[in-house]
């Protein structure tokens, strides 16, 4: 019983981190209608940021979250403002290749700059566990999950309550309307891209103590973010959260009952099922499916 509970609990914790990654992807899509196929690469940049901060200053892994998010915000802002902006009106496959090219550039740059060797954070903190009854919850994962949920909650509040958040939601809802009321669309878009990529970067810093950082991790993150987003409903923020938790638990459950190497079968199966049966995602609105 402890086995099942422990595995599922870990699934939930990982799910929260997936949700943060997916949150970033979905907000970019929801506002600009572009799919960031280089999202996983952004996570990896965040991981490197986390690793190097630890290596240089021996900081607590959580301390890297803000700097990583800030770095990725900047990257996202500049990329959107100067590059992606020009592709908004282009067809989906051209945007796709743009992001694939970006992904190649980032992977190549990582390989050139940091080499292929995996970089692991060795800190005693990464071996801690919290015990709740018979349940052992890994401390790093719990902290990562808590931080991820906190970030998601803060962003949600930001989008609801702040002036800029309202502008972002307005721009997502009706682009012409946003221009009509004088919203600086290009800036708002760039901020949105910044936030989306900052989510990926923060998630990267959070997982850096869990997975060792190397240049080729990215596609896995991109895929998981996609599946998560589609499950929850593309463009839906609560959907990203739900999708993340669902994927986390589903993978954990699959690792228990199936051969663990088959566990992504369940994710893909779930993905196909949702696409066929409820294309707007589990809690997304049909609006999102444009």
């Amino acid at each position: 019983m402890d086995l099942v509970a422990g595995v599922i609990a870990n699934g939930v914790l990982m799910g929260a981190v997936y949700a943060l990654i997916a949150f970033g992807l979905t907000i970019i899509f929801g506002v600009m209608r572009v799919v960031n196929f280089a999202h996983g690469e952004m996570v990896v940049i965040g991981m490197y940021a986390g690793y190097f901060l630890w290596a240089a200053f021996d900081t607590h892994p959580l301390a890297a979250v803000l700097p990583a998010a800030a770095l990725l915000f900047l990257i996202g802002y500049l990329l959107q403002f100067h590059l992606v902006q020009h592709f908004l009106a282009r067809p989906a496959h051209v945007q796709f290749i743009l992001f694939i090219a970006l992904a190649l550039v980032i992977t190549g740059a990582h390989l050139v700059a940091f080499g292929p060797n995996p970089r692991g954070i060795f800190s005693l903190a990464s071996f801690e566990v919290y015990r709740i009854g018979g349940l052992r919850l890994d401390a790093v994962r719990s902290q990562a999950a808590a931080a991820a949920l906190l970030i998601v909650a803060l962003l949600w509040a930001f989008l609801r309550a702040s002036r800029l958040g309202r502008a972002i939601r307005a721009a997502a809802d009706n682009r012409t309307g946003a221009a009509v009321v004088g919203i600086r669309i290009r800036h708002v878009y760039a901020v949105t891209a910044g936030i989306g990529m900052a989510c990926a970067g923060a998630a990267g810093a959070l997982v850096a103590p869990l997975f060792d950082t190397h240049p080729f991790l990215a596609p896995e993150f991109t895929l998981i973010a996609f599946i998560t987003v589609i499950l929850g409903g593309i463009g839906s923020l609560p959907g990203a959260l739900l999708g993340g938790l669902l994927i986390g638990v589903a993978e954990a459950a699959a690792a228990l009952v199936l051969s663990p190497s088959m566990k992504s079968v369940l994710s893909y199966g779930l993905l196909i099922l949702v696409m066929l049966a409820r294309p707007q995602g589990i809690i997304g609105s049909p609006e999102g499916q444009r």
């Binding site: 592709f87 190549g108 895929l223 088959m262 196909i272």
Partner: protein, 320 residues
Amino acid sequence: MRRGAIAVAAFSGLLALGPLVLDGYLLSLLALAFAFAFFGAAWNLMMGFAGMLSIGHGLYIGIGGYTVAVLLVTFGVSPWAGLPLAGLLCAGLGAAIAWTGFRFAVRGVYFALLTLAAAELARILFEHWPFVGGTGGFFLPALPPGNVPLLTLRGGPEFFYFAFLLLLTAALVLTLAIRHSRMGYRLMAIREDEDAARASGVPVLRMRIAAAALSGGMTGIGGGLFALMNGSLFPNTMMGVAISIEIMIAPIVGGLGTVFGPAIGALFVMPVHELSEHLAQEAGVFGLNTLIYGLLVLLVVLFLPAGIGPSVARLLRGRR
């Protein structure tokens, strides 16, 4: 149409003379370029003409490859029979996916992810299927001395050069014929505006299934030949995400929805790959090749929005 046919004839005729002046290295490099040009042309039929974005075309390469290889090694069936069978199987798969997508109204990005999910599912299943060697891979025997390529459909660089050139030429002719046929116009009508096309009486479902089946079937045949060229098959390299993405780059760089786009794209991309690899080796900076390649693709999408093909065509026309 006539000018296009002349262009195809000139293109293929010129390349057919290649072995007179090229050595084994350039031949095998070009064979690889033709292979990717062919995959690109097949993919282009679906995306460029019917507007169905498939990011899981590795599925057909893999299924085609394994079909031919397993038939050959396990059952002793000649690739002469294996290749058409692979084509039929993949055409069926393509049709099934197109039908599923249509039936459940899976559009745009969703359709793309459906194709990706299908390819990934197939990859994982093959990785757990001992009959095809799982992740351990599936190997073809070495060619015996005195091998007759036309019999075994396996051989040296020259054989694969001609084999893929032939496939590519066939694909170009087919693309050209379709482009100027009623089917071509219907497909492009669907691409431009599906609802309008349906309103004006285009049988959207039939057209989409036809395009997907044709594209899948062609890719399957190419995948079979690709496996014969590689000599070994692994689910990850034959149908992973990497190859699915790789085959899209050439047609988009070359010019989507044009007859020659995929070929021009592949003939541009391959040397870039090779030169950047050289450069990386010379500089001793590993990974530089990925960086250069990514930057070049980026530059092309930035500055040649329609792809290299149309820009070259405009340049040629401008000269006249």
